[in-house]
Symmetry: C2
Subunit: 195 residues, 2 copies
DNA sequence: ATCTAGGGTGAAACTCGGTGTCAGAGTAGC
DNA sequence: GCTACTCTGACACCGAGTTTCACCCTAGAT
């Protein structure tokens, strides 16, 4: 049928191109504004045709938000890995560490992308959509972890945890990256500790 | 300039037409599926031109979700009206009562619309967007209510409360409206009581 | 009764995002 | 050199949403 090693090298090449295209797109978006740039513009700037660009990212927004999918999956895996019997809130807080790490790995780049997202309604909404798409997996893991499972409560807690993340990120970007994202996230989670 | 009473009668007529158009649109969406129906279709079914339909609702989705805006505003007002010193969670839970009432007032209609929304990605996302748009107001009210205000915590709690609402509604519709929405909402809020 | 100003309507042209199709170029295995 | 496969770009197409313009209708003024 198909040589699996060949398939893998192709995949590597594809993701490399994807990263290159995304970088060019983000650069252009930052320079001229997401909504001002058309698909033709960004494709031309990236040196490919509109068709090709849309083949790599299903939509204009995916060029910016594509990197997030990976983090969502990582969070689900991380939640799986939390020790049995650990409280939901601490497990959820810890499973968001991959996000913290990603932001720490490239603060200025993360800040730029965060701003880009917050300044464009289209990107903000896609971001919401994306986070919502992570919920079922997190809810499932949380339900399975529980000794007395309640899917409704699990769903609420998972959703609330993601709210903490996005709100912490918002405040972090409002402080121009000056504050510590992990501290902000902890502060956000403290909303569930006291009344 | 303009007779204010005339302006008001015009407004009443407009909202009446709006309601009529929305009803026709929802009916058609339910029958043929939201994504299958084009603006031309729905305009023809409603007996107006595409232009006019889009003048009443800025988008196809607004024909379905337009009624929600009112509820969002009501919730903010209701939160304002909660007694001083009341806990955030109970205040938030109570300020969602207008939603409960609206669903109770027309269960079968609400159920139909809820299903419609959940079955169409476009509508789901617009719904997310709409709920997110309510957050700033709720956060502000919650912050002002607090004796030791923390805007970040307030934002998280407001967001979590809206999560409870949408999750409760989801489960309610999954039960075909069989379960009690208020009870489900209470159960959702219980996610913040225990660890 | 006529004129007139303003808002509501519909027709049309336009932009743009996204989908699908197709033909051609490059490439690896035979 | 032949074949199968993938990637690419060009093109046509659709539907959402914006804008413009002309028309009608109604209400108030003369």
């Amino acid at each position: 049928m198909e040589d699996p090693t060949r398939a893998k090298t192709r995949d590597i090449a594809r993701t490399a191109i994807r990263a290159e295209l995304a970088q060019a797109a983000i650069e252009l978006f930052r320079r001229e504004g997401f909504d001002q740039v058309t698909l033709n513009d960004v494709a031309a700037a990236a040196g490919v045709s509109r068709s090709t660009f849309l083949r790599y990212f299903g939509s204009k927004e995916e060029a910016v938000l594509g990197a997030m999918d990976d983090l969502g999956a990582q969070a689900a895996v991380a939640l799986c890995a939390r020790p049995y019997g650990e409280g939901d809130w601490t497990a959820l807080r810890r499973c968001l560490d991959p996000f913290i790490d990603a932001y720490r790995a490239d603060p200025s780049g993360s800040l730029a992308i965060t701003r880009l997202i917050q300044e464009s309604p289209a990107l903000r909404n896609r971001q919401l959509e994306k986070q919502a798409s992570w919920l079922p997996a997190l809810t499932r893991v949380l339900t399975d972890r529980s000794s007395r499972p309640d899917p409704l409560v699990a769903a609420v807690r998972a959703a609330a945890a993601l709210d903490c993340l996005s709100i912490a990120v918002t405040h972090w970007s409002a402080s121009n990256g000056g504050e510590d994202l992990a501290a902000l996230l902890d502060q956000a989670f403290s909303a569930f500790a006291t009344t």
